[in-house]
Amino acid sequence: MIKSFLVLNLVLIAMIVSITLHYWQSPKKENIEALQNIIELTHQSKLSLSVAYDESLYNPTYPEMPNLRKMNFIYE
């Protein structure tokens, strides 16, 4: 095995190790708890989507189809 290949291997291993460490150290549980607390307080679990809510419900090009740009159809 030549030296350059060994270096490449080490770089790849370093990449895998760094993302694994970041993944295990991320406060996943705390984040979920914080979100669940918010739902318990507000009783709302809607995603905070950044969409224009006043746009038409209907597709202007194909009126028989729903508007594809509309993302807040979950409760409507």
Partner: protein
Amino acid sequence: MNSPFLHFLTLQLFKERHKHISIIIISILLIFLLSSVLFLSSSIRFSLEETLKAQPDFVVTRLQGGKGVPVPLEWSDELVDIYGVTKVTPRVYGRYFFKTKEKSALIVGVDFFEEQSHKVLEKVMKDIDVKEFLKTKQMLVGVGVKEYLKKHFYNKSYKFLTPKGEFVDVKIFNTLPKDTQLLTNDMIVMPIDLARKVLGYREDEVTDIGFNVPNPSEWEEINDKLLALHYDLQVVNKNEVKKSYQNLYNYKGGFFLILFLIVLMTFSLILYQRYNMVYSTEKRNIGLLRALGWSINDVLKLKFMETFIIILTSFIVGVFMAYIFVFIFDAPLLKNIFLGSQNIYSSVKFTPVVNMATLSSIFLLYALPFITAVIIPVWRVSVTNPKEAML
């Protein structure tokens, strides 16, 4: 580690690096794009699935002419009387459009006189003084709303225009935690009576009513009982909401997966063409190895290992870049596809979620056509007479 085969393989790989570099760059880009989309969709889906656990099992709304209208508060008393129903919660919320009508925020009314709400508020906002908060007309705002109001010079308070044409001055008490931005970016939390006033609800009206049914086998029966209560009543259960979200994000992720498959097919065809026709030097090399006494198996093994190293390197680098892009830089531009960008800007931080099953599927989908596109032409050359191959 020091076998002559491995030495020859790595030596050749690095000697011909200019030949591989374009393939590696295209592969990295493909893997990066697809992994970014999948990381993003699985992170949002994970957060939603976890948070849906805390949301009411059922939500009752009122429809007239296909449009949602306020629900009478007395319906909640009727719900409490149904056997098996618990935690009946009338909800007051609605969108408030700021003066220019360009942007809007979700106003949520909370009954802070309930003991449970007090406790949860203290859990959400660690150092909050609830008494101080309830003293005057005050609100808690999401990070996005705070930034929007600040940009429009409303640093301390905002004057809401009610549907009756009155102005209600509400002070900004605090900002909701940044780690809840996925739900609270465009949210304004205020006492329920104040929310009613701002949104134009009467005292005996609510937006909808949420409640729980702890025994899942009773869900269908309760659903029937509810529909028999009023003709204009609509019931949405938690599973339907969950399904809607799954469909939304599977659709968006799936759309990218189809694009990926099309690009991958084209890429494999190009590779096949390249190894099949253009590379006369490649043919000569294989012929030379065969003339030196290498068996067909050895040649195939060499080419397989060479291709596998290229695939693995591009895959690891692509996934690494996607991870950094999504979970460290918060996927600029790409997140707009999933969260939108027309309303209040969201600078949400995504929870790292890596779905190993999806990742291995990407690897297989990418590796198999790649290896096939290289190995088949190599095999065709290696089975020919070495003399012919070297011509």
